[in-house]
Symmetry: C2
Subunit: 248 residues, 2 copies
């Protein structure tokens, strides 16, 4: 039958189907609702647009899931055309870097297993990044739950422009494997921290996808939220009341 798409500011029930969309409505988005996180998958780059999580001390205290033996798996909720494959990461020289980290989900075997979908992975430099500075950031964000009520966190890749020899700005990133999965130039992480008194603060970082010296402080990677939003192409935590600073 006809796709259920209607005219107006947004699709509404009760209006006639749109003739212009007679043979299909191109679907950009691929929102995935997992046990412990929610994400948007970028079918063009074959990795996340964003991955949102919620952490608190109560859940992080539960030690139920064991990471050993959990297998990375292709995500069959997307058409084959758009899937990242195990073969893309194998021999690529990059880690299968979790966006929602497995370490946030010890409270549930199912929730931890859900972090092993390739849709939750990005091509990350291993030594010096995924296994070091990036993991330090993940641990730091978890540690925020010790003295706060809730931590909301959103993570994703960036493809940042830089000036080349001709003086112009270019976005340039490698694509690897048979499916040509993008290698992001950077990754962002944004944490909304809810204090015991309910006050909210936002901390946000951009790290380059490269070897980072261990003695570089995490604070040196703090970036304004609006800069991340502009680069990523979506607003983050825009339901935060205006009185809270959306800055570094």
């Amino acid at each position: 039958g006809l796709p259920q798409v209607y005219a107006g500011e947004a699709p509404k029930q009760g209006l006639p189907p749109l003739q212009v969309m007679r043979y299909g409505f191109p679907d950009m988005g691929s929102i995935k609702y997992r046990e412990g996180y929610i994400m948007s998958y970028d079918r063009r780059n074959k990795t996340a647009n964003w991955v949102c999580e919620h952490l608190n001390a109560e859940r992080l205290a539960v030690q139920e899931a064991k990471r050993d033996g959990m297998a990375f798996k292709e995500d069959d909720t997307d058409p084959e055309l758009f899937r990242a494959r195990l073969a893309d990461y194998r021999g690529s020289g990059y880690d299968r870097g979790h966006m929602a980290p497995a370490g946030n989900y010890k409270w549930s075997t199912k929730a931890m297993e859900d972090t092993f979908y390739l849709s939750n992975m990005s091509m990350q430099v291993g030594k010096g990044f995924n296994r070091d500075k990036w993991e330090e950031l993940e641990s730091y964000v978890r540690s925020l739950t010790k003295t706060n009520r809730n931590v909301y966190v959103c993570t994703g890749p960036l493809y940042l422009p830089r000036q080349e020899a001709d003086g112009n700005m270019y976005v340039r990133y490698k694509v690897v494997g048979p499916s040509q999965v993008a290698v992001p130039t950077h990754f962002f992480k944004v944490a909304v921290v809810e204090a015991p008194n309910g006050n909210l603060t936002i901390q946000s970082w951009v790290l380059p996808n490269e070897v980072i010296p261990n003695d570089t402080p995490l604070t040196s990677f703090k970036r304004p939220l609006a800069e991340i939003e502009r680069r990523a192409g979506f607003l983050l935590y825009n339901s935060i009341p205006d009185k809270y600073t959306r800055g570094v």
Copy 2:
């Protein structure tokens, strides 16, 4: 209040709000319903993801709208952070290239005016492309209405990888202007042609965003639909019955 977002395969009414999305659901998409076309805006690259149209001889015969004096205009339906600006195109060396061409909308002043939003523009090489081979393709697609009942057409930019000197594949594209609007490497156009007997055929092209010699035949740019879908990151006209070829 809380964003209206719920758990499950897709948001459903009746379920409790998702804690993980307590402070906002990042919205990738920006679907715009215009008088004559429907489009998805890419807030990262500040140009379309896709622009869908429906053409037929009856409407194309109407000569009502006059292009002269119609002004290009910024699209204020997106937050300022994500908008392409007049200043981005000015002096860029690129044309403001319509995705939904003004020439398809002589049947309505409002419909033609709607094609002048910058969200419907892409940075196109002017002479030798926008004003020549690309326009030839637009004219060709219009001409299909003469002997067919309906023509459905979808148009958009592509950012195709190519091999560099180190043997690896890279996506690389220029970004220009204060807002750093992307300059696509290629553009696609897909036409679903409905014959008088109801039979459907699909024609699909990919043209490089560069000067193309006038004697190059349009047929040399035909590409399989699946290749365009994989590169663009979405399925096109996937409601077409399976019996019709989705190929060149």
